[in-house]
């Protein structure tokens, strides 16, 4: 088998075939490490925010990886990892529960957008 040679020693070490066999064998499901969800705290007192996930064999290594992947730019003061298996999610087929009927604008933020103007115009109305 012909091996790709390169000026880059790392490519040589990888021993990549010149003509790769294109018949790929499907991989078994979950041949990767399990995943952990990563949360970081941008500053003391702030909420922890979900920033992504990492593959890792253990929680300790998940923390080690998460620190470099999501905390290396110095924007974090705290980091959490949680096994993805431990997250309880709403069934996606039930996502219609988020739909709200339109008759309840008072429950939505937009309804309070121009409160000051509304107060002012109400006051004017009263004075008139």
């Amino acid at each position: 088998m012909q091996i790709i040679t390169s000026l880059d020693p790392r490519v040589n070490r990888a021993a990549l075939p010149e003509n790769p066999d294109t018949s790929f064998v499907p991989k078994e499901e979950l041949d990767q490490f399990k995943t952990y969800e990563v949360f970081h705290q941008p500053k003391s007192g702030a909420r922890h925010l979900h920033v992504g996930s990492v593959h890792a064999p253990t929680p300790e290594l998940a923390i080690a990886f998460a620190k470099e992947q999501y905390g290396r730019r110095g924007q974090s003061v705290s980091l959490w990892v949680v096994s993805t298996d431990d997250i309880i999610a709403l069934d996606t087929s039930d996502s219609d529960v988020f739909e709200t009927a339109t008759e309840k604008p008072y429950r939505e933020v937009n309804a309070y957008a121009n409160t000051r103007e509304k107060i002012e115009s109400f006051k004017k109305e009263q004075q008139a």
Partner: protein, 256 residues
């Protein structure tokens, strides 16, 4: 005092420069993406540590950092043999990372009290970074030693047996040891080695790996005085930037 100080700085800078480049050879080839990113980032940190040390040397009248780093011949290089070794398998690279970084962390800890201000400031500046490096190394060593399987345990043990005498070369006695100590610049290699042995023993015990008896091994000395394992590697070190990636190539590769 200047000569002793420069000798210490060159030892440290050359170690960081060479191990940084060696470890960067894993970039793109790490066992998994997450580890690739972490290990590459650690390698990059080492290069930056060496830059900081070369800058201190420049302030003492030595050449500017690029010249110091890349234009000296192998006899002038003061790195220990441990950092020169090819990366081998990931077992060897991890064990080297563990042995070297623990020594590096303890050295900087000692230097925090140095009478030479630029060194004590640098030691404080890199403290957090190196703490992470050692955490990363300890986690892997404990994982593959104690929580892996028979294969991972025996590979880590073999790598440790190979790397231990090389690692003892980090602490090769220096003719300037007494002077550095008397001037309050650095507490000395002997003291550092003592602290290092204590520190690595704790992690190795957790990892169920056995440290070879120190009396039974011959420390790999010579690097600090310019006698290196692979002269070709150091004298013909050639560094190039390829698509923003720093690549170290032995020069003979250019011939074909």
């Amino acid at each position: 005092m200047n000569e002793a100080l420069k000798n210490l700085l060159y030892r440290m800078a050359d170690d960081e420069l060479i191990i940084g480049h060696r470890n960067s050879e894993w970039t793109g080839l790490g066992p998994i993406l997450e580890e690739d990113i972490a290990f590459s980032s650690i390698a990059q940190d080492k290069i930056v540590h060496s830059l900081a040390l070369f800058k201190i040397l420049e302030s003492l009248g030595e050449p500017e950092p690029d010249t110091s780093a890349f234009m000296r011949n192998s006899l002038q290089m003061k790195c220990c043999h441990l950092v020169e070794y090819p990366i081998g398998g990931y077992d060897f690279s991890l064990i080297r990372h563990f042995l070297f970084d623990t020594a590096e962390m303890l050295r900087y800890q000692m230097l925090e009290d140095s009478s030479y201000l630029p060194l004590s400031l640098l030691a404080k500046k890199v403290r957090g970074e190196i703490k992470y490096h050692v955490f990363h190394a300890n986690t892997w060593v404990a994982q593959l030693g104690a929580q892996g399987n028979e294969d991972s345990h025996s590979r880590m043990q073999s790598a440790l047996n190979l790397a231990f005498p090389l690692a003892l070369g980090i602490f090769e006695p220096s003719e300037f040891e007494k002077e550095l100590k008397n001037d309050g610049i650095f507490g000395g290699e002997t003291e550092l080695q003592k602290r290092w042995l204590e520190a690595i023993s704790i992690t190795l015990q957790k990892a169920t790996l056995i440290l070879p008896q120190i009396e039974t091994v011959v420390p790999s000395y010579g690097g600090r005085t310019g006698s290196h394992t692979d002269l070709r590697m150091l004298s013909l070190l050639s560094i190039t930037i390829f698509h923003g990636i720093l690549i170290v190539l032995p020069k003979q590769d250019f011939s074909h």
